[in-house]
Symmetry: none
Subunit: 209 residues, 4 copies
């Protein structure tokens, strides 16, 4: 019975977290309502405060960077040249960001929240974004060589991430500009290919320049 209770309780927690990821990533933190999250999780209105203390607490717990980290680890251990690894990273990152079928809407929240800083931003930056920038910084460094300054290297990282995230956070705009746009797997991979080509051309020019 105790086990059952705990299980039920933990199931509720899990459903709340899943629902929170859904709603936060669709509506943003401000736009999301505790009621909607609880409704989708089939839980009581008070459940969020009961389990996570507050809406903020729920966000902090809901953030889950597992897939993003896995992506980096896989990439770092891939037995490939840096150029191909950048291409792979962009591919995986874009799939994570844009693919509706991706198991991890989880990280999309991340991008969604950037425009609307919340108390959770520090956590996001420390746990996910800073390591991501560092990871990409190392990868870029491998590509451009040692002649390029650290500052410039950082800016290259931003150039890559800027291209990627634009497709995610400007989706409503891009949909209006090209109404036939659909982020199916083919389209996502084509976009990723473009970003990789575009970025690698620029990075190689830097190395050679």
């Amino acid at each position: 019975m105790t086990d059952q209770t705990i299980t039920a309780c933990e199931q509720t927690r899990a459903r709340l977290l899943e629902a929170a990821r859904e709603v936060f990533s669709q509506c943003g933190f401000q736009g999301a309502t505790v009621r909607e999250i609880c409704r989708r999780a089939d839980a009581n209105v008070a459940a969020v405060n009961y389990h996570f203390g507050s809406k903020d607490g729920l966000l902090a717990e809901a953030l889950n960077f597992a897939q993003l980290k896995a992506l980096q680890t896989e990439n770092a251990t891939a037995d490939k040249c840096p150029e191909k690894r950048l291409r792979l990273f962009v591919h995986d990152f874009m799939l994570m960001l844009l693919d509706e079928k991706s198991a991890s809407r989880q990280c999309r929240m991340m991008a969604r929240e950037l425009a609307d800083p919340t108390p959770a931003l520090d956590k996001i930056v420390t746990e996910a974004i800073a390591p991501l920038h560092e990871f990409l910084g190392r990868l870029v460094r491998e590509i451009v060589g040692s002649k390029v300054s650290e500052t410039e290297c950082r800016r290259c990282v931003i150039s890559v991430l800027g291209q990627c995230s634009f497709y995610y956070h400007s989706e409503p705009v891009l949909q209006r500009l090209t109404p036939e746009l659909r982020y199916d797997r083919n389209e996502i991979e084509a976009i990723a290919g473009h970003i990789a080509d575009f970025s690698l051309a620029a990075l190689l020019a830097k190395r050679n320049g």
Copy 2:
């Protein structure tokens, strides 16, 4: 007397618009409250509805694409090669987006709203973003030549804009990553230089590839 009245009224309107641009660009449309806007404009709570009909109406009026359009016009009529005009565009665009002293925090709202679509988004897209993409599309076409497909051309435009807007809408994140970052004129111009270099290298590679 009449003149004075008109002036007073228009001053209130102007104060409301200025306050609205401030608050909208800081908090987004949802996060902004009419009360806060009126407080900053030193106006009554009802002033917004009196002058603009609604919060939506205020946003619609607050959006002012004059500077963005001027930037494009100047650029299109500049007697320069396309590469230099792209460089000029990025420079002007980044100054508009990032320079605190820029007379137009106005357009910054634009980017701010993209993450949180409102009824005003259609207006923004139609009046400002679509023309901007078309303008950049022509410029990119001039650079890459006729061998590159239209789709790829559009993606190049997005690559340029993605890099630019990332600095604006991810400002809170970037500040946390590099706390010493200040968007003074030198920094902005250095960033713009990087984006132009990065993008031109990629575009020229496309032309030659």
Copy 3:
């Protein structure tokens, strides 16, 4: 110039009164807004308060029982038997209440306000309704003769007025019950005929009973 000013001023007053009668009779006192009245009168928002002190004051002035009084006077001096005069009264009264083309939406306000007592109700009762009841009381008395008690006579008056006003103040309900219902002149006269028949049959029964 003074004359002109006075004229303009009085024209505005007149337009306001006319608009007020329109709006009050359509929306009731509470539902009517000063702004809408001023809009229809093509006058300033402040005009109502300027000319009539307040919304209440406007209602008090807008009430105009001229047509209702004229109707009674005409009726009283008609050279007809009481039965025909009752029939005539019902006919004229229903036209006044229901005919859209009637020059006097004016009095319709009266009925409209009865459900929603305002400070103006005393005026309405004293100036219009009490005289109307007295007038009808005399007419009914002529028909039923002297055997019927005064109380019963008053109730007969109410029976007649109740039938008439129901068509006016329950119009939205009756429209829903019989959607094809239109208050054109033929329909109004048919209704008036029914009410007169119904009432006269009852009154004659009282006289003979």
Copy 4:
């Protein structure tokens, strides 16, 4: 514990409904404020929205036609001649409308709202008024026989209801005309008797005419 909770909740609901009936019937739908209703029900301002979704929803729930329907059912199954059943109907209907002690101020709202159509009007008409008209239509038909047209039959129903409802919705006016008027049980029954006499005389005349 559960029972108590349910009871507490239902008590709040009941208090809100009771207060709503009071305030709606005194002030009309527009004039009534959620705050006043909650104040009288000793509940929070948000209670109405919590329990009924909106002010409209509260009205929809507050309307309770049980007594009105019971009245018709009783009447239809009474083992009496149509004339006596009409007399009985008028008697019961007037008691329902006018008796302060009647458990159902509930239905009085009905008449009150008719002058000020709201989204709830459709519900009122469909659920209460249309059946009432049909019921009375059948009763009138039994009295007048088959020679009278359907249209005329409907007008007779309106004549009866018009007389009845006038006493309710013109109460403020009638009070001013005859200040000594009190709707005690005797008075109500006398009025009902008058209306029944008046109407039956007219209906019998139609049958014989």
